[in-house]
Every structure is written in structure tokens, then in C-alpha cells.
Symmetry: C2
Subunit: 97 residues, 2 copies
């Protein structure tokens, strides 16, 4: 299995509505990108100061399937329309599981 | 389910032996901390510049079980002895799945 992880921080001005748009956008992706095997995202629980604010873990059968997801136009639209406007920081890893 | 994610970057001087010590230390934790439900870690695949270098995803039945793990002395020993000496950066999120 091949896993993609991305953690985000948001700009201070990000509204709850804007954050909800990220969640809604991501929600739609497994239905249009069948290469996604598992897709689990959510807001940080707020237990540790200094944490990032949002996490996404996406599992694929292979690195090639991850690339299909990464470059998929609907995914790219969620990034451009919902994520990028409120993104302050980003940390990411892809690894074999 | 409750998930803990942590991504690390290492100092430039970190040796392969030191990085292997992190992997070995983490490998031993599920056997001594039964609260761990899933535990999957590994080095970044090197596909994207700017990525963190190492990822760990740990799943628990509850936030309480995560806290048992977080504070477990064997886990704390891996952090102190293997991770902290070579850690340059850290990004983390805990979230409900």
C-alpha cells in the first residue's frame, strides 16, 4: 500500500465556512477518484499546542494510483478553490505501508 | 477511532544508523503498548521537494488510549534516545476518524 499524508495550518482569518468548504470538497473525491482506497481527514483535536490544524491520510494500492489522485482535476480544483485560499502551512509525506 | 499523526524532518548530520534506530525503537512499541490498534511508519518516498522525511500514523480506540501511548515510558524512551537527537522539525495532528 502507498500512503499520502498532508497536514495543514490555516491563516488566522480563515472562517468556519471556508474550513467547511475544504471538508466538503474532500468528501466528494473518493466518489470521483476510484484509485482512493482509504480517505480519512479531519480537524485537529486541539490537545497539543503547536499542532497543525487539519490532517488527511489517503491510501492507495500503488504509487501510480497516488499520482492519479494527485493530478486529478477534481482534486486540483479542491486545492485551488478551497485549500489554497486559507492555507498558511503544509507538511506532507508519502510512504510505503 | 482516534488517530495520531506525526511527521519529522531530521538534522542534516543524522546518520543512516541513527535513522534506523528510530525505526527499530518504534517497531517495538505495539508489543508493549496494547492500546495501539494500527501503527504504520516509514521514510518519505522522495517524490516531492519540501516534504517531511518520516511519517508515523497510530490508531487507537479512543483519545484516552492515545494518551496512554503518548505518556508510556517506553515510548518516551524512544523519543528521548532515538528521535530527539536527530529531530530538526515536527508536524503533528490528532483527530477523530
Amino acid at each position: 500500500m502507498f500512503r499520502h499524508i498532508v497536514l495543514f495550518t490555516w491563516v488566522a482569518e480563515a472562517t468556519e465556512e471556508q474550513k467547511a468548504r475544504v471538508t466538503e470538497g474532500l468528501h466528494g473525491l473518493p466518489a470521483v477518484i476510484p484509485e482512493i482506497r482509504r480517505y480519512e481527514f479531519g480537524a485537529d483535536a486541539g490537545m497539543a499546542p503547536g499542532n497543525h490544524e487539519f490532517a488527511l491520510v489517503a491510501d492507495f494500492d500503488s504509487e501510480e494510483d497516488y499520482l492519479v489522485y494527485r493530478d486529478h482535476p477534481v482534486h486540483q480544483a479542491v486545492i485551488a478553490d478551497a485549500i489554497r485560499p486559507i492555507m498558511a502551512g503544509r507538511a506532507s509525506v508519502q510512504y510505503k505501508v
